[in-house]
């Protein structure tokens, strides 16, 4: 079977995000970009399934501007067989991304689609669930363990109450949580090999996906800051101040 993996490029998780003074956005010029951490986990899981013989082909998908190629090459260097680059200079909201994936699914007929549970830029946590709805297939979100056997996926999900195990038929959409695996590091020879792997480019406009955004962002603001408090000298003083505030 084929596995389709969403591979989004985002501002690196170590970057301290600054809101532009005029509230029109966040500063992204010259800021380090990396793969969304959850997507690296998605790709790693797909590669492991291929190594176990569950899948034959792993395809990374990126939606974004022309210069996304270098990012997709990283996905290929990590081990994906090929990449699909849906080219658009516009930013894409989750519903639109899900519609794009559905188009690619119709063409590629994957047995599994693995996406990150959220991208750490918009933190929306929507695309996988939306895709599963549009595709009318099962979803297993926030996965911390995945077993594929006999045409079924048994997925352990990190939920607020603990760990939930569900079983789904295939094809299905899985979204990854952080504890699913630890992504491998890219090795130099793999970067060389990746250069000869194919990247299909598809113009967003040619997919026939409705691009209308239902949500408009009208303002960006920095969050309210918590100010630095006071240092206490010992345990007794800490207990005293907390008691005084009625907290203990």
């Amino acid at each position: 079977m084929k596995i389709l993996v969403g591979y989004k490029r985002v501002v690196d998780y170590n970057v301290r995000i600054q809101v532009k003074p005029d509230g029109s956005g966040v500063v992204t010029d010259g800021v380090k970009l990396s793969a969304n951490p959850f997507d690296d986990i998605a790709l790693e899981e797909a590669l492991r399934l291929r190594e176990k013989g569950v899948a034959e082909e792993v395809i990374v998908v990126g939606i974004g501007p022309a210069d996304l190629t270098a990012h997709l090459r990283n996905g290929l260097a990590m081990g994906a067989n090929r990449a699909i680059h849906v080219v658009t200079s516009e930013s894409v909201q989750p519903l639109t991304a899900a519609r794009v994936f559905l188009k690619l699914i119709e063409k590629e007929q994957p047995g599994l689609v693995i996406l990150g549970k959220q991208a750490i830029d918009d933190d929306a946590n929507q695309t996988g669930q939306m895709l599963a709805a549009l595709w009318d297939r099962p979803q297993a979100t926030f996965a911390s363990n995945v077993e594929i056997a006999d045409g079924k996926a048994t997925v352990t999900r990190e939920v607020d109450a603990g760990l939930e195990v569900i079983e789904t038929e295939l094809p299905a959409v899985i979204t990854t949580d952080l504890r699913l695996n630890e992504p491998r590091f890219i090795k130099l020879p793999d970067i060389m090999k990746a250069k000869s792997k194919p990247i299909d480019t598809i113009e967003f406009g040619s997919l026939g996906v409705e691009a209308h955004d239902h949500l408009k962002t009208t303002h960006y603001a920095a969050p309210a800051k918590r100010s630095k408090g006071v240092m206490v000298k010992d345990a007794a003083e800490l207990v005293a101040v907390l008691k005084q505030k009625g907290l203990l």
Partner: protein, 314 residues
Amino acid sequence: MSKILVIAEHLGGKLNSSTARAVSAAAAVKPEVIDVLVLSDAPDAIAAEAAEIDGVSRVLTIAKPENAHPLAAVLAPQIAKAAAGYSHVFVPSTTFGKDIAPRVAALLGVAQVSDVMSVEAAHTFKRPIYAGNAIITVEADASHTVVATIRSASWPAAGNGANSAPIEALSVDAALPTHTRFVELKQGSSDRPDLQSASKVVSGGRGVGSKENFEIIYKFADRIGAAVGASRAAVDAGYVPSEMQVGQTGKIIAPALYMAIGISGAIQHLTGIKDAGTIVAINKDGEAPIFEIADFGLVGDLFKIIPELEQALG
């Protein structure tokens, strides 16, 4: 005028407090109607609890054996049908709501507003992005149903006791898939307060050092009646189960008192506690970033300080 459908979250026959928080957010829209929808195999007791929440107009129930467990693929088509005639569908932004709401939105062909922190107008909301390092104002298309998840930590639970809203059974005609089955829920059994609604939380980080050492955190938490949380590093190291993680990818909480013990204060952890009333940090490293946001900081070895705190409590 707005009509809002709030989807109830429940477990083990009990309503989760995230539901009353979502009702608060609904009330902020100043709608004509706030109905709560309970999907369950046995909704009666849950519906009775929901009917007491202030501001609720009606409680609707969909009782089906298939609704025994919250499977998104099963619940979403029913919610999408039930949403007809409502201007807004609000769902708590917990793992329950995050799983289900986008599936509902996609079935309705609309976008979703995730993690609503404030309601500016009926179709205008504030929500966090970049792990809470920026807050955006978003406007939803007024010609569509608004599907939104409600960031529990931003909203107080609506009061209860004074209301007794009518409860009505709803029947929806939705085809339910059989491709997804619930197997089990492995739940840490705990008599401690619930992490998401507790007024006091004591969290331990990598500095606690081991699963065995975590006993000192549990013991202290029990002493002051607090829930217990943890950093991702403590979870990843196997000191505690994953449901105890606080932060961007764990639980976002807003207790009156949060005590971070042996936690450095990474941005992803702080995202989970920004709305706490008072933050206390105990760390042996005086330079730890947690002290930048703590209301009260104490530098020292946690294994020495915790017994001293217990002693000072008397």
